[in-house]
Amino acid sequence: MSSLLEVRDLTVQLKMDAGPREVITGTSLDIGEGEAMGLVGESGSGKSMTAKAIARLLPDGATVTGSVTFDGTDVLALSGDALLKHRAQVAVVFQDPRAHINPVRRISDFMTESLRILDDVPKAEAVRKAAAALDEVGIDDPGKRLKQFPHELSGGMLQRVMIATALLSEPRLLLADECTTALDVTTQAEVMAILDDLRRDRGLSMLFITHDLELAGAVCDRTCVMYAGQIVETSAASRLHEDPLHPYSAALVQARPDISSTAERLVAIPGRPVSAFEAPSGCRFAPRCPHSLDSCRSTDQVLTDLDGGVVRCGRATDLRGNLLDGAHV
């Protein structure tokens, strides 16, 4: 599997009133053709900012170092038409569809706008393409939906419209940023199934950003876990639940209640998640980690290969296989 997207040592600082604030530190990841990569983390972990950096949607004044390469092109150097072309190939679907759609325009206007303006597609053909895309995401009677306004559609329906719209530009990579978080579970399952089909039928690559470890584990090939702006672990998604490499991944798995059994007591992680700019030096998770030593707090941790995965923890080898044993002290 050759890499479609390569992110190397990406660091992002945002311009805030109080001065620059780092939100991502040295992130590296690869996504292959047709691969679904999960990006999991709590609030402030920098997972959304990673997606924004890849799509070149960061707010004004952001400073970016490192590199993002998409299909051999240096994404960070793009401008003008080349940037528009990049954004067509890398589509983004956000959490709240209503915030990204003009409420006073019909679905057909919203869907066909970029086709007609950027690609000079005649109106009739653009509408036909939009209808086909709606059909692909399982919306019945696309002709009727196209004439409706956003408020006439449910959240789940609207999110499918967003996905269908993203498909119109024939993207090769889909960045799904918490795109099912606001949906009901049954609707979420439907949207996930659609994304799964698209990946199979179109060979679409996907970066699936979520706070839900189980969801990422169920639909992705590999999963990156982010904490305080850094990737702390990348491994096969199916393995993350049974055999995590990083103490934080293990802690996340254990903190979630289990639908098939009641725990006497949940294994909570003390403290609260922090953002990159407020993270301590040394290992950023150390203050909350049950396995941390003094040395963890004094040395910056680097990503190292371990058993087919990548982990940012100096004690990963010692702790191998013991993280889920209830070894908390």
């Binding site: 109080a18 909570a268 003390p270 403290g271 609260r272 922090v274 407020e278 203050p287 909350r288």
Partner: protein, 291 residues
């Protein structure tokens, strides 16, 4: 199981707002504060501190320019302009303040009551306000002058009543939004009464908007009161008032001696601009302090 990590951001931000609020005002803000302070001082102490009797008329000095201790010269009836400006500050500034205060009090009460009780009460009050909305403040003041006789009190009350629907409409939206916050629902479930919730919780949380409304109305009131006095339906000549002075100065103005009208107009504009600017700033800064 308390949080072990101290929160550096939260710590830093706790003391920041007040500092930021002040530093963001800028030069114009400080100038505005100075103007308002001066206007208030004049309104309170002006009639005591004025150098000459504002109503002492000596026609031999009519339209004579500044000299000696008569820093602003004399008006068309030979009265000292500086003394009249200082004397007139009281009715002008306090009159406008009175109008703004009454209008905000009526408007806020109506806004909170309609937002709180909703339903038919809201619908009927809002309909009534819409009717009142159609009357311009000055028209209402003219009617009041016709019925109760021309005076500052009748003009001021008429203006206050005419302004109140404006305040009520703006604040009702804010009050409705606040009413829908779940902290209000949580306190209702605690058994808190409507009065306590409205006065102790809802009102303080829309207070920045109330202040902003008050400052805007203060500006309107000052200009409208001056216009009413100019028409001879508010403060009565020879009583000194900035609006009256604009009116009185018009003969001198036509004779090529504009200093009387101009001074009064400049005073009005300076105070109105200062209050509006500061009100807007206060509103903007209080928005990002709390949420």
């Amino acid at each position: 199981m308390s949080t072990e990590i101290l929160d550096p951001v939260a710590e830093a931000e706790e003391s920041a707002p007040s500092r930021r609020r002040l530093s963001r005002i800028g030069v114009i803000g400080w100038v505005s504060i100075a103007i308002i302070a001066l206007a208030l001082l004049l309104a309170i102490f002006g009639p005591i501190l004025r150098p000459f009797d504002p109503n002492l008329s000596d026609l031999s000095f009519a339209n004579v320019g500044p000299f000696g201790s008569h820093l602003l010269g004399f008006d068309g009836q030979g009265r000292d302009v500086l003394s009249r400006i200082m004397e007139g500050a009281r009715t002008t500034v306090l009159g406008a303040g009175f109008v703004a205060l009454i209008a905000v009090a009526i408007g806020t009460t109506l806004a909170i009551a309609t937002a709180w009780f909703g339903g038919k009460f809201d619908a009927s009050v809002s309909a009534g306000l819409d009717v009142l909305f159609a009357f311009p403040g000055i028209l209402l003041a003219v009617v009041a002058a016709a019925v109760f006789g021309p005076s500052l009190l009748s003009a001021g009350l008429a203006l206050a009543i005419a302004y109140s629907p404006y305040v009520a409409r703006v604040l009702r939206g804010a009050a409705l939004k606040e009413r829908a916050m779940t902290y209000i629902a949580a306190l209702e479930v605690q058994g808190f009464g409507a009065w306590r919730l409205c006065v102790r919780h809802l009102l303080p949380n829309i207070s920045s908007l109330i202040v902003a409304q008050g400052t805007i109305l203060f500006g309107f009131a000052m200009v409208d009161l001056a216009a009413i006095s100019f028409l001879g339906l508010g403060v009565q000549s020879p009583q000194a008032d900035w609006g009256v002075m604009v009116s009185e100065g018009k003969t001198s103005l036509l004779q090529g001696y504009p200093i009387v009208s101009l001074t009064a107009v400049l005073c009005i504009v300076a105070v109105v601009a200062a209050v509006s600017f500061l009100g807007e700033r206060l509103d903007a800064s209080s928005k990002d302090v709390l949420r």
